[in-house]
C-alpha cells in the first residue's frame, strides 16, 4: 500500500485491523493514519469493509485483532471521555420519531454531557446551518426524507467532536441537500480544525470532499493519497471512451492500434476503447476517424476528465458499481 508513509503522529491511527463475519473477511489487516484537520474519504464498492471500519473506530464493533488509537490513546468504548471526542453519523436514518428536531438535538447533547445553555445555542446554530431552523418544533417522523438525513447528520455534531465519522453522508440526499451538506462539512472541518473520516462509494463525493482518499476493496487498503495525486497516477489530462458496436477480434485490434498511433496510453476495457492524454479534444476528430477507417462501428463517444473511478479500475480491474 502506498501513500500512508508520511503520516507522523496521526490523530487517529488504525494498526493491522482485522474483522471477520464467519467466512467473510470484512476488514483485512488495515493500517491507516489520519491527520489532524484533514477530511479522509474511504472509497470502495459496497461490501468493501468501509462501514465495518467506521463502526470499529467508534467502538460499536470489536476488532478481531489490531489497534485503534486516538491521539495516541487506545479507543475504549467504555470511556466516556474518549467517546465524547468522536461524532458519528450512520448511513441509515437514526432518529427518535416522536421527538421534535430541537428535542432530539438537545437530548443527545445532554447525553454527551453538554451544558444545557451551550447545547441550546449549538442546536440552534446547527439547525440554521442545515436549513431546518423553521422545522425545529416538528416531529422527526413528519420531516421529508432529505430533512431527516440532514437532521441525522447534525445529531453527530451537537457535542462538537474532534473526530467526525460519516457513513455515506450523501446517500439519499437530493442534489440541493447534497451541496448543502458537502459545503457544511468542509466548512466545519476547516473553521474548527476538525478531522473527518467519511465512507463513500461515490467517486465524485470522495473527490470533492476529501483531502485524501483511501481506496478499499475486499477489506484491504489499496492506496491512500490526495485525489489529485491518485488521478495523476493514471496519467494527466482527459479520458476518451469509444464504445464499439459489433466488433470482431481483428478489427478491434486494428482500431486499437490506430488509436495508439495518436495516443499511446490506450486500452480496451470490455467493448470500449479507453484513451488517456492531455487535451484530447483536439485529437477527437482524428481518433474517431481512425477507428471508423479500421472498419469498426462506433456507438457512444465520451470525453471526460480523469476520475477516481479510473484509479479504482486500474487497481481492481472492476468498476466501483460492480
Amino acid at each position: 500500500m502506498r501513500g500512508d508513509e508520511g503520516v507522523h503522529s496521526p490523530m487517529l491511527s488504525l494498526g493491522g485491523l482485522n474483522k471477520r463475519y464467519g467466512a467473510l473477511k470484512a476488514v483485512d489487516d488495515l493500517s491507516l493514519g489520519i491527520r489532524e484537520g484533514e477530511i479522509l474519504g474511504l472509497l470502495g464498492p459496497n461490501g468493501a469493509g468501509k462501514t465495518t471500519t467506521i463502526l470499529m473506530v467508534c467502538g460499536l464493533l470489536k476488532p478481531d485483532s489490531g489497534t485503534i488509537t486516538l491521539r495516541g490513546k487506545p479507543v475504549d468504548a467504555r470511556d466516556r471521555r474518549t467517546l465524547a471526542r468522536i461524532g458519528y453519523c450512520p448511513q441509515s436514518i437514526v432518529l427518535w420519531p416522536k421527538l421534535t428536531c430541537l428535542e432530539q438535538l438537545e437530548f443527545i447533547g445532554r447525553m454527551y454531557g453538554v451544558q444545557p445553555v451551550i447545547a441550546r445555542r449549538r442546536c440552534g446554530e446547527l439547525l440554521e446551518t442545515v436549513g431546518l431552523v423553521e422545522k425545529r418544533d416538528r416531529l422527526a417522523a413528519t420531516l421529508s426524507g432529505g430533512m431527516q438525513r440532514r437532521l441525522n447528520l447534525i445529531m453527530g455534531l451537537v457535542h462538537d467532536p474532534e473526530l467526525l465519522l460519516l457513513d455515506e453522508p450523501e446517500a439519499g440526499l437530493d442534489p440541493q441537500s447534497r451541496i448543502l451538506v458537502r459545503d457544511y462539512i468542509r466548512g466545519w472541518a476547516r473553521e474548527r480544525g476538525r478531522t473527518v473520516v467519511l465512507t463513500t462509494h461515490n467517486m465524485d463525493e470522495a473527490d470533492r470532499m476529501s483531502n485524501r482518499v483511501a481506496i478499499i476493496d475486499h477489506g484491504k487498503l489499496l492506496l491512500v493519497d490526495t485525489p489529485e495525486a491518485l488521478k495523476r497516477e493514471m496519467g494527466e489530462g482527459d479520458v476518451l471512451e469509444i464504445d464499439l458496436l459489433a466488433a470482431t477480434g481483428a478489427t478491434v485490434e486494428a482500431g486499437l492500434a490506430a488509436v495508439r498511433g495518436l495516443v499511446p496510453q490506450a486500452a480496451l476495457v470490455g467493448h470500449t476503447i479507453v484513451a488517456r492524454a492531455p487535451n484530447l479534444i483536439s485529437l477527437l476528430p482524428r481518433l474517431t476517424g481512425n477507428v471508423l477507417q479500421a472498419g469498426l462501428k462506433v456507438g457512444e463517444v465520451r470525453l471526460r476528465e480523469n476520475s477516481l473511478e479510473d484509479v479504482f479500475i486500474s487497481l481492481t480491474g472492476r468498476r466501483l458499481r460492480e
Partner: protein
C-alpha cells in the same frame, strides 16, 4: 393507553357482573306431585324446597341462588352443557309421598359439571337446604350444628370486589408489554447505538425506562383504584397498603419487561415474546386460579415454592390479605419484601442481559 387500559377493563368487568355478591344459577326440575303434609302445606315438598333455595341470601340481602324451573331433564342438561347454570336439582314424581311416609328415603338428584367452578358452591348449598328440610320435616333438633365463620369481612364481599385484586394484578402485569416494546424500539430504530456512543450505561438507560414506567404504573394503579372505588369496591384493610403492593408489582413487571426486551431486536418480536412471561404469570401465580405449590425449600416456618419467583404470586396473597381479610402492613411484610427483592433481581438480570446483548461491541 397503558394508563387508561386498566380502569377501562375494570369498568367493563363491573358492567358484566354488577355490584352484587356472586349469585349461582340453579335449575330445578320439579316432577313432584302431591302435597307436603309434613309441613302442612298444600304445595308439594319439592316446591317447598325450591322456594327455600330461592330465598337464601347473603348478609347483604343479595340472593345466593337464582332458581329457574325447567320442564325436562334434557332441557336442563342442555343449559348446563353451555355453562349457563351451575347445577340442576331433580325432584322425582314421588318425592312428597316418600318424604311424608318416612318408609323409604326420598331421592333427589343433583346434576352438574364439576369442572364448572360454580358447581361446588351450588351443590353444597342444595345439599344443605335439603338437609335443613329433612330435619324440619321430621321435627327433630339437629344433634350437631356447624357454624360457618368467614375470615375478616370476606363473607360480605361482592363478586366485583372478590375478583378486582386478581384483575388488577393481571392488568398491572401487562405493563411488561409496554416496557419490552419501548426498549426493543430503541434497538430496532438503532437509537440505542446513538446512546451507546454517548457512553450511556445499560444501568442508566434501563434505569431511566424503569423510572418512567414506575411513574406510569403509579398513575395507572391510582386511577384504577379510583375507578374501582367509584364502582363500589371497598377495601377492608388500609387501601394505601394495597396501592403500595400494586405499585411494587408494576415495578417487578417492568423488570420482567426488561428481561423480555433482551431477547428482542424488533418491536414485533418483543410483542410476541412478551406473551411467554405474561402467560407464565397469569397461570402460575394464582392470579387466575389456585395451583398446588411446587416446594423448593423452607426458611423457618415458611415454605418457598417454585411459583414464588413470580412477583404476582406474592401480590395476589398480599392484596387478598389487605382487601378481603382487612389485614395491614405488618401482615404483608413478607410479601412486600419478596416483591422488592424480585423487582430488584429482575432489574439486575435485565440490565446484565441487555448490556451483553445490545450495548456491548461484538
Amino acid at each position: 393507553m397503558v394508563v387508561s387500559l386498566i380502569p377501562l377493563f375494570l369498568f367493563m368487568y363491573w358492567s358484566f357482573v354488577g355490584g352484587g355478591s356472586t349469585s349461582y344459577k340453579v335449575l330445578a326440575l320439579n316432577e313432584d306431585r302431591g302435597e307436603c303434609a309434613l309441613l302442612g302445606s298444600q304445595r308439594s315438598c319439592a316446591s317447598e324446597v325450591i322456594g327455600a333455595l330461592d330465598s337464601i341470601t347473603y348478609r347483604t340481602k343479595d340472593r345466593l341462588l337464582h332458581v329457574r324451573e325447567v320442564t325436562s331433564r334434557q332441557a336442563g342438561e342442555a343449559i348446563l352443557r353451555e355453562n349457563r347454570a351451575a347445577a340442576m336439582v331433580v325432584f322425582p314424581e314421588g318425592f312428597s309421598q316418600a318424604a311424608s311416609s318416612g318408609l323409604q328415603p326420598a331421592t333427589v338428584t343433583i346434576v352438574g359439571d364439576p369442572n364448572n367452578p360454580y358447581y361446588t358452591v351450588a351443590a353444597v348449598t342444595i345439599n344443605a337446604t335439603l338437609d335443613e328440610f329433612a330435619w324440619k320435616a321430621v321435627g327433630l333438633e339437629r344433634p350437631v350444628v356447624a357454624e360457618e365463620r368467614m375470615l375478616g369481612g370476606s363473607g360480605g364481599r361482592t363478586e366485583f370486589e372478590t375478583y378486582t385484586p386478581g384483575l388488577l394484578v393481571a392488568a398491572v402485569t401487562l405493563i411488561l408489554f409496554s416496557v419490552a416494546i419501548s426498549i426493543s424500539r430503541e434497538v430496532e430504530y438503532g437509537t440505542i447505538r446513538r446512546l451507546v456512543m454517548t457512553g450511556a450505561s445499560s444501568t442508566s438507560f434501563l434505569g431511566g425506562i424503569t423510572g418512567v414506567y414506575t411513574l406510569v404504573g403509579l398513575i395507572t394503579v391510582l386511577l384504577a383504584y379510583g375507578v374501582a372505588t367509584a364502582l363500589g369496591f371497598r377495601s377492608l384493610g388500609p387501601i394505601w397498603v394495597g396501592i403500595l403492593v400494586s405499585v411494587l408489582t408494576s415495578v417487578a413487571s417492568i423488570g420482567l419487561g426488561l428481561v423480555t426486551a433482551c431477547f428482542s431486536r424488533t418491536v414485533a418480536r418483543a410483542a410476541v415474546i412478551a406473551n411467554f412471561p405474561l402467560l407464565l404469570v397469569l397461570f402460575f401465580s394464582n392470579a387466575m386460579f389456585p395451583l398446588p405449590g411446587a416446594r423448593l425449600f423452607a426458611v423457618g416456618q415458611r415454605v418457598i415454592h417454585l411459583q414464588d419467583v413470580l412477583p404476582q404470586t406474592h401480590a395476589v396473597v398480599a392484596l387478598n390479605k389487605v382487601f378481603s381479610l382487612g389485614l395491614g402492613l405488618r401482615e404483608v411484610t413478607f410479601e412486600m419484601a419478596a416483591l422488592v427483592v424480585l423487582a430488584f433481581a429482575y432489574f439486575m438480570a435485565g440490565t446484565w442481559l441487555f448490556r451483553r446483548m445490545h450495548m456491548r461491541a461484538n
